[in-house]
């Protein structure tokens, strides 16, 4: 309880049923009791003075009703008296329901024309205020309480038998009957007269249905001792307010004039307690325990002041002044520090409300307590309410459309202790307000868990947040002596990059946006190179402040009208604002502006196509970079051609009302991202307007343009074409990119199928039209073939002409590029600098979807004579050799460049080896080149002898060249590795010979001449490398004779 709260009590009446009503201006209160007296309290005055009384009644007064120009009282004798405004002067007998029927309730309708009188009689009587003789009867027995809908001609009656009936007064028919909803009164009213207080308690209870000022729901104390909230749209129980700390029967209920609080009185353990609940969080804010053995019979909030009043069965009248803390009532004002609180968690509760009621998009706007009267029309966008406006609300009638408050896309109000500040493609920001603590906890949760998690203790109580590509941005309201702040936290480990921007004292942040290039995983290390994106802040000073990702102020752009929402991509910021005021016929009158983040140029500016009576629900940016919006009609639009000024248009890509999954379900959608052909959203069951905690898994709605004709394939093509357009607009100087070509191919495939179906339906014109849309000439060819297949010579001719024309004319891609260029877009697209060179490198592991490479199994290969000599043979005789080994063998020369010289020399002598190699050894170059030239065409034929001898000599030379043996050994070993291309068994041999090889150099050389005698080409087997020679010999010995000889000759 608030320390300032004061309770003032009086006992103006005798024990028994008491009634209470406030005058509409809040200056007076009326109380009535079983002592036949109505007292009129003037609240501003000292209440110790005996208030004036109306003593006309002869029977106990059971009902009171006050309206602007007078008031009514009803008695147990069935008389309703009409009095002048705020005075005890009786205007006359208003109506009479018969002496046997005690009046139980009087209620006047919001238009001040009809008075409903509920009594113990058979009927509910409706009496015209101006002409009491005009009456209407609604047939319902024994009414206890009657209440009117705040704006519409709807009545709720609560009967003695526990039934609650909702009436449409215009038709006099019940809209809905809740049987046995409220406690049935066993004690008949007659017994009340017997004054047996305990047994008649039940009947004293104020069981009336209390309407929320918005008229969207009403509250009832149900049979289950809880408070039921019944929604007007469905007439079903929406939710329940219950708390185990508030036991007992609910004896009275009231809703505060702004609709933010609910007061209830409970009777248990023979004492009454009055509770005040926060409507949004459904938690008790404060409570007051009264005297024992009395039942609170009526509760009422003062319409103008922070006062809750009640009367009880003890005949007492209590006024609780300032029961609700000031900071709850006026969220902007500074909370008072060091309040002595009766309940420990009071402060925490207060903060929840601060966060809560502002962010709830269409409900309680923050000014609703400070100016209570205006809230009669709060939440109400329907122009139909106009007829029910009270005369002193003329001002409201002029602009009856409630202006949509600024909102952050993807944010929810505070629910219990949790709140979402922002939701988008990347993830969401979750705020937890732990009870009993002064700070909030902020968790940035990415959908991609591999990204660094951001989580911190928030002492500023940020109320706005946004998840940018490069960092998370937060803003808080001015609090206490501290001005409003904006804080940016880039997603880098280095916390020094975080910065805070302080706004002037009288300035509040309305919206924030953070844009930037997507962070690619490969470019994480060089993220700084691309910067931390761009920040845009909308303030109450009517401006957009542009800042760089490092906190440098760049520009302050004035924004006319009211800011509503914004979202930033990497190139531009998409701002929604209201140029003037809302229109009288229900339009929100919203416009959008697309401002380039780079040079602050305005790219697009136009109205936002929201139908009258509807509001903007979400704005965002698709993965391709197009702005998107979702309104309360359930339609999703994206902006196309937004790059070219004045070209943009809103394409409707989804109508959630037409979704197949919605049929037969009561659900709505809460989108937060669009990518490709998917709309990511949360599904809200029933009347919910935002997702509740725990956050459910999101759903992917397939995007489908709401075409009226039911032709799925055509719709798909048009959707793809739209996507292609958006993608092509993103192209700079290049003609096409991979994604576009892929999409084009896909579209072509679909088009070919459509052409086919058109041909089958012999719709030739359609076939030609579709064929014209085909991008690639190959697909056009297949269409021509198709025409041929169906024996449509005419069509075939047409298509052929089409193809010819297309071939002759300029390339369509060039045309498209020139068209783009015409619109003069001098600045290149921003490209991620860091990401550019990182993707190019070859195939990654597990990413190769091609067929696996053929495993070479020479042992299983057909017995073809193969020249398995060296790595070089392959390059020389590539054409003839059929085995796959050869292709592998062709490559080694390139790798060989690093071999050491001696080896290179020897090889270069033997063949026309790749010239590159020869460069390494200047000594050998001349010979090699000569060889090259001479051997160009007849490598093997004549020069064999020469080669043989030269290699031999060369080898001897090399041996004499005082090359260290170790080096040679190393060379030969690497050589051995290189020889993987040869059959496996060769290496086996090589291994066997490796031991003797190192020391038996000279003997190893000797066999070479022997072989050369047998066949010239045999020499090619690296005479200087005996191990290789040994390897090859068993295989080649005979086969080479057959294979290579013909070539040589």
């Amino acid at each position: 309880m608030n320390s300032k709260a004061v309770l003032k009590s009086h006992q103006p009446h005798t024990e028994g049923l008491t009634s209470l009503a406030f005058s509409t201006d809040g200056l007076h209160a009326f109380t009535a009791g079983e002592d036949n007296i109505v007292r009129i309290w003037t609240l501003s005055e000292n209440t110790d003075v005996e208030p004036p009384m109306a003593t006309d009644a002869d029977d106990p007064i059971t009902a009171l009703c006050v309206y602007d120009d007078g008031w009514f009282s009803g008695t147990t004798a069935g008389t309703v008296r009409h009095y002048d405004k705020d005075s005890a002067k009786m205007n006359g007998h208003f109506t009479d329901v018969g002496p046997a029927n005690a009046v139980r309730c009087i209620a006047i309708d919001p238009r001040r024309k009809t008075v409903a009188v509920g009594s113990d009689g058979l009927n509910l009587r409706l009496v015209e205020l101006d002409d009491p003789k005009k009456t209407q009867e609604l047939n319902r027995n024994a009414i206890r309480k009657v209440t009117w809908h705040p704006t519409e001609p709807i009545l709720v009656t609560c009967g003695l038998n526990g039934d609650v009936v909702v009436w449409d007064v215009t038709t006099a028919n019940p809209l809905k009957i809740f049987s046995n909803f409220i406690p049935t009164v066993i004690n008949l009213p007659k017994r009340l007269a017997e004054k047996s207080p305990n047994s008649s308690f039940d009947f004293l209870y104020d069981c009336s249905a209390v309407w929320h000022p918005s008229g969207k729901q009403f509250y009832l104390a149900s049979r289950a001792r809880d408070i039921a909230c019944i929604s007007q749209s469905t007439w079903t129980r929406d939710s329940t307010i219950v708390d185990r700390d508030a036991p007992g029967h609910v004896t009275a209920l009231a809703v505060s004039p702004n609709g933010a609080f609910i007061a209830s009185a409970s009777f248990s353990d023979s004492s009454s307690t009055v509770y005040i609940w926060d409507r949004v969080t459904r938690k008790i804010i404060t409570q007051h325990t009264g005297t024992s053995k009395t039942v609170v019979t009526q509760l009422a909030f003062s319409p103008v002041a922070n006062v809750l009043a009640w009367t009880d069965s003890g005949g007492e009248f209590h006024r609780w002044i300032d029961p609700i803390q000031a900071d709850l009532v006026v969220p902007i004002s500074n909370p008072i520090e060091g309040l002595g609180t009766m309940f420990d968690d009071d402060d925490a509760e207060a903060d929840i409300v601060i966060g809560g009621d502002n962010d709830e998009p269409m409900d309680d706007v923050e000014d609703n307590v400070s100016e209570p009267e205006q809230d009669w029309l709060d939440d109400d966008n329907d122009a139909t309410a106009a007829g029910f406006t009270r005369s002193d609300f003329v001002k409201e009638m002029v602009s009856i459309t409630q202006a949509q408050p600024p909102f952050q896309p993807g944010a929810t109000p505070m629910q219990e202790t949790k709140q979402l500040l922002s939701t988008n493609r990347l993830g969401y920001i979750e705020v937890t307000a732990p009870p009993d603590s002064e700070h909030h906890l902020v968790d940035v949760r990415f959908f991609d868990l591999s990204r660094a998690k951001v989580s911190f203790k928030d002492e500023f109580k940020f109320h706005l947040g946004v998840l940018g590509e490069r960092g998370a941005l937060f803003a808080c309201r001015p609090q206490d002596s501290r001005p409003a702040l904006v804080q940016y936290r880039p997603y880098v480990k280095d916390s020094t990059t975080q910065w805070t921007y302080t706004l002037p004292r009288d300035c509040t942040v309305l919206g924030i946006a953070a844009g930037g290039l997507p962070l690619t995983s490969s470019a994480k290390d060089v993220a700084d190179l691309d910067g931390f994106g761009n920040i845009v802040i909308a303030t109450t000073q009517g401006d957009l402040t542009f800042m760089s990702g490092t906190g440098r102020e760049r520009r302050i752009i004035a924004l006319g009208g009211d800011f509503v929402s914004m979202v930033a991509g990497h190139e531009w910021v998409f701002v929604v604002h209201r140029a003037g005021s809302t229109t009288i016929d229900g339009s929100q009158n919203l416009s959008y502006t697309l401002i380039n983040l780079d040079d602050f140029s305005v790219r697009q500016r136009d109205f936002l196509p929201i139908p009258k009576g509807h509001t903007l629900k979400w704005i965002g940016i698709t993965e391709e970079g197009a702005p998107a919006m979702y309104d309360s009609t359930g339609r999703l639009h994206v902006l196309t051609k937004y790059r070219t000024p004045h070209h943009a248009s809103w394409a409707r890509i989804l109508d959630t009302n037409l979704l197949e999954r919605k049929i037969g379900k009561d659900e709505s959608y809460w989108p937060f991202a669009i990518s490709g052909s998917q709309c990511l959203c949360f599904i809200l069951k029933g009347m919910r307007t935002y997702p509740t905690f725990p956050i459910p898994p999101h759903y992917e709605l397939p995007i489908e343009m709401p075409f009226r004709t039911d032709n799925k394939p055509e719709e798909k093509i048009e959707r793809d074409v739209l996507m292609l357009e958006i993608l092509r607009d993103g192209l700079d100087d290049q003609l096409t990119n991979e994604e576009i070509s892929r999409t084009e191919q896909r579209v072509d495939k679909d088009l070919v199928l459509l052409v086919q179906s058109a041909i089958q339906k012999s719709n030739i014109a359609r076939a030609v039209e579709l064929a014209k849309l085909i991008h690639n000439s190959r697909a056009l060819d297949s269409v021509i073939k198709m025409a041929e297949f169906y024996h449509l010579a005419g069509l075939k001719e047409k298509l052929q002409t089409l193809k010819d024309i297309r071939e002759q004319s300029e390339d369509r891609l060039v045309v498209a590029r020139d068209k783009r260029k015409e619109w003069m877009r001098p600045d290149p697209l921003p490209r991620s600098l860091g990401a550019m060179d990182f993707k190019a490198s070859g195939v990654r592991p597990f990413q190769d979807f091609g067929p696996p490479p053929t495993v070479s199994r020479p042992g299983l290969a057909p017995a073809v004579p193969v020249k398995e000599t060296t790595r070089f043979t392959a390059s020389t005789t590539v054409d003839i050799r059929p085995t796959p080994v050869e292709s592998v063998a062709g490559s080694p020369p390139e790798n060989k460049r690093k071999r050491d010289e001696v080896e290179e020399v020897s090889s270069s002598f033997d063949f026309a080896a790749p010239p590159l190699k020869q460069k390494i050894n200047p000594f050998a170059r001349k010979v090699g080149q000569e060889n090259n030239r001479s051997n160009l065409f007849a490598r093997k034929s004549d020069s064999t002898a020469l080669q043989k001898s030269e290699s031999f000599f060369d080898k001897v030379d090399a041996a004499e060249d005082s090359v260290p043996k170790t080096k040679r050994l190393g060379a030969s070993k690497s050589k051995e590795k290189e020889k993987k291309d040869g059959p496996r068994q060769m290496t086996l041999f090589g291994m066997m010979s490796s031991a003797p090889r190192s020391d038996k150099r000279v003997p190893a050389v000797q066999p070479t001449p022997d072989i050369t005698m047998a066949d010239a080409s045999q020499v090619e087997t690296q005479p200087d490398l005996p191990e290789e020679w040994e390897e090859t010999q068993p295989v080649d010995g005979t086969s080479l004779l057959d294979e290579t000889q013909p070539v040589a000759e």
């Binding site: 959908f447 991609d448 591999s450 990518s675 597990f846 990413q847």
Partner: protein
């Protein structure tokens, strides 16, 4: 293996689970992954927050590492199963269910309990369903013939369950059967 001899002839439930784990299931990945080639095929790419369809074995593996949320198949929900139980108890036919429903529901209930809504209720419902179907299978014994048995919509696990006994019984029936002349 210490299985009774009758069971040795047929597949064991873990083996059936292994087979069922080849089925695809929808997940919400929490890590990005390129399209990856496995022996069973290429799956992916995983791009949070987009859903992906991958085999159950892979989903469970990712789930174990807290790298995805598994979206329960449509039939693994309280409403659906309740409707099925109602059908099952009112109709004489077996109701149509996924062929591997027993295995899949089991592995999901074991491996991804926190991704399912009301797992305890699901367990009881599945048990009820199983019992209802078992009762039907038992009733089907009356129609047992030597040559063939028609039980449409029987799931893999149930077939496996009745196979040892039915085969034996049918073999006996075949011996008793006098072919019409």
């Amino acid at each position: 293996m210490s299985l009774p001899p009758v069971l040795r002839a047929s597949v064991t439930p873990p083996e059936l689970e292994l087979i069922a784990c080849q089925e695809l299931v929808e997940i919400i990945p929490l890590i990005p992954m390129e399209k990856t080639a496995f022996i069973a095929g290429a799956y992916g790419p995983l791009r949070p927050p987009h859903r992906a369809r991958i085999p159950i074995w892979m989903a469970l593996n990712l789930k174990q590492k807290k790298k995805c949320h598994i979206i329960a198949p449509d039939w693994l929900s309280v409403e659906y199963l309740e409707a099925k139980i109602k059908d099952e108890t009112t109709q004489t036919q077996f109701t149509e269910l996924p062929f591997h429903f027993a295995e899949i529901s089991r592995v999901l209930l074991d491996g991804a309990t926190d991704d399912l809504q009301n797992p305890d209720k699901l367990r009881t419902l599945l048990q009820d369903l199983r019992e209802a179907r078992q009762a039907k299978a038992r009733a089907g014994l009356q129609n047992l013939e030597h040559s063939s048995l028609r039980l449409s919509n029987l799931s893999a696990m149930e077939i496996n369950e009745i196979r040892p006994f039915f085969i034996q019984a049918m073999a006996v029936l075949k011996q008793l059967h006098v072919p019409p002349k």
